[in-house]
């Protein structure tokens, strides 16, 4: 469960670190420092999520669940980033 939330957040951060989505949400291109921090935080979350999954399910099923949840988390953030309307002021 914890792993699921962590992974969804991680991919949201990955997504927000891309030019296109950052511009759509915040109205300007992200500055490089922000991008670096976002990516570092996202990778950390992915790692922590693996630990959470393994501690919940053991070494055999933990990684399987982790991989599955990573895909699910990526799907959720993909849909959220593309389908949720961007805040009005940020829209071009």
């Amino acid at each position: 469960m914890i792993a699921a939330v962590l992974l969804a957040t991680a991919f949201l951060l990955f997504g927000l670190a891309t030019d296109r989505h950052h511009e759509r949400r915040f109205g300007r291109r992200p500055d490089p420092r922000f991008v670096r921090r976002c990516r570092a935080a996202a990778w950390t979350l992915v790692g922590v999520a693996l630990a959470a999954a393994v501690s919940a399910r053991g070494w055999v099923f933990g990684p399987v669940a982790w991989a599955g949840l990573a895909m699910a988390g990526a799907a959720v953030s993909f849909l959220a980033l593309n389908l949720l309307p961007a805040p009005e002021r940020a829209r071009r």
Binding site: F14, L69, A70, A74, N82
Partner: protein, 528 residues
């Protein structure tokens, strides 16, 4: 490098297209097969739930003892709360007079419900999707497996070349350009592919592994002169029991199972009783595949008096790897969460194949010299897409309806259900030939949506128990089947509506694309 990527692109297009229709059907059936046991129960709605597995086992044993007391072997699948009952299968004593004549499997198979009687509704249930996934239907099994194996190889080729061709897929991961015709389809195809990439690679590769002994027999031939030796290594078992002819009471299976669960360190999956009712009787238990990634569980054998006479040797590396790959493919170990993840990934794979197929036509339509008169090959692909991508789900819906409507006592009922699936699919194929593809999409997708929604309503109002009863009883396996069918109906109806309302833009420089460019392509239709 340009040349290399170009060649990979060609390979991706054609390996994907030529076997895409087979792959689509395999993906749909395989995805449905993750709910095999739930569907097995759902398609026998009057069968009571298994409350106490050991009780159900004792009832099944009593039934077998009446029906086939002198069989050579009984095979019993241990009943669980997820299953509709106890699957039993028996092999009669070899009859020297009937040598060469094979007995029909149907006559020696039964599903015994928790009350101890064979289930009323003869149906293939979710097992149909499971078998169809690799054996197809209406053709010899060996041909089907070669075809499926070949399709899986092409799938692996398509995935790897896809990664090479669209090297930007990882960078463009979060990109979805909506309402942009071909670009939208491409983005959707990429998203479905990359989101599930670990799953797609895993499922294709392990799928090939399950068929590896058939596809690449050389390793077996080189190492084992005698095929039975290989089987002995892969599936070790106790020495065969020899009938003594002296009758002995049956051992108490429930007690043996309880003891076996302790020794095997997990629930028992299969029970094999050799020479039941004889002093030489032997009971072999196999651990269920639900607690270990390895699909082959440890085994332990008991004699007629209930003493342990044999244990399987510890599994070696190669066998464990093989078993674990099959386990990973089938996801039998999964609890509800993992099962849903597998199911969603399966839907993702289905969408990837479907959007790839549609993309082929979308891409080429823009380059047609004269869009009003496309070449023959284009029209064939376009109509086959309708017939398969929209037609097969319609067939599945017909299968479910046949399950509800064919009278319970109709002879050969289970096979007739399957016949309805193919009849409906065939009819869908004719529709796709008869009308323009755009109307074909609308008619078939809309028809499937209506059939699925009506089915849930039929269950709730006329069949009873329906969705409301299942939720009230806390029976979430059956309730989820209905809920998934409703969700599919909604998505299909929405897609059909988008196709129907879609008006091609006036032909500008970038020509009008076919149906639905505005739709989030990943929503094409998950299908059951």
């Amino acid at each position: 490098m340009k040349g290399f990527r170009q060649s990979q692109s060609t390979l991706h297009t054609w390996s994907g297209l030529l076997l895409g229709w087979v792959l689509f059907v395999i993906f749909v059936a395989g995805t449905a097969a993750y709910w095999r046991e739930a569907l097995n129960r759902w398609m026998r709605p009057e069968t009571p739930r298994v409350e106490r597995p050991l009780n159900a086992l004792a009832k099944a044993e009593a039934w077998l003892n009446r029906r086939a007391p002198d069989a050579k072997t009984w095979f019993i699948t241990m009943p669980t709360a997820e299953a509709p009952g106890t699957y039993v299968f028996w092999v009669p004593q070899p009859d020297p007079a009937a040598k060469g004549r094979r007995h029909r499997r149907r006559d020696t198979f039964a599903l015994i419900d928790a009350a101890g009687t064979p289930t009323a509704r003869d149906t293939r249930g979710g097992d149909f999707f499971y078998r169809f996934h690799f054996d197809l239907h209406y053709m010899p099994v060996i041909w089907a497996r070669w075809l499926v194996g070949f399709a899986a190889m092409m799938m692996l080729v398509a995935i790897l070349t896809g990664i090479v061709t669209h090297k930007k897929i990882f960078r463009d991961f979060f990109t979805l350009r909506r309402a942009k015709g071909q670009r939208s389809w491409l983005d959707g195809h990429n998203a479905a592919a990359v989101l599930g990439l670990p799953f797609h690679l895993m499922i294709t590769y392990t799928g090939l592994v399950t068929l590896s002994a058939m596809l690449m027999p050389w390793a077996t031939i080189a190492n084992y002169a005698d095929g039975t030796k290989m089987a002995a290594v892969m599936f070790p078992s106790a020495d065969e029991a020899t009938r003594t002819g002296t009758a002995a009471p049956l051992p108490d299976l429930a007690a043996i199972v309880r003891d076996g669960e302790r020794r095997l360190g997990g629930p028992v999956g299969y029970i094999e009783v050799a020479e039941p009712g004889d002093t030489a009787a032997r009971v072999t238990l196999t651990r269920a595949s639900s607690i270990s990634l390895n699909t082959y569980g440890d085994r332990v054998a008991y004699d007629a008096a209930g003493r342990v006479v044999w244990r399987s040797p510890p599994s070696d590396g190669a066998r464990t790897t093989y078993g674990a790959m099959i386990g990973l493919h089938a996801g039998r170990f999964g609890d509800a969460t993992l099962r849903w993840l597998y199911f969603l990934c399966g839907i993702g794979g289905t969408l990837m194949v479907a959007s790839g197929l549609v993309l082929w036509t979308v891409k080429r339509r823009e380059r047609l010299a004269d869009p009003s008169r496309p070449p023959l090959g284009f029209r064939v692909v376009e109509r086959l897409n309708v017939a398969v991508v929209a037609g097969f789900p319609l067939g599945c819906a017909a299968f479910f309806w046949a399950n509800r409507l064919i009278p319970l006592d109709a002879p050969g009922r289970g096979n007739r259900e399957v016949a309805y699936l193919f009849a409906a699919w065939g009819a869908a194929g004719l529709v796709s030939l008869a009308v323009r593809p755009r109307y074909g999409w609308v008619a078939l997708l809309g028809g499937t949506a209506a059939m699925l929604a009506a089915l849930v309503a039929y269950d709730a109002v006329l069949l009873r128990p329906g969705l409301a009863n299942w939720i009230a009883a806390g029976d979430w396996a059956l309730a989820s089947v209905d809920l998934v069918l409703l969700a599919l109906a909604a998505v299909l109806a929405w897609t059909a509506r988008r196709v129907a309302l879609y008006k091609p833009r006036v032909r500008t420089v970038r020509a009008a694309t076919r149906a639905r460019p505005a739709v989030l392509p990943a929503q094409l239709e998950p299908a059951e």
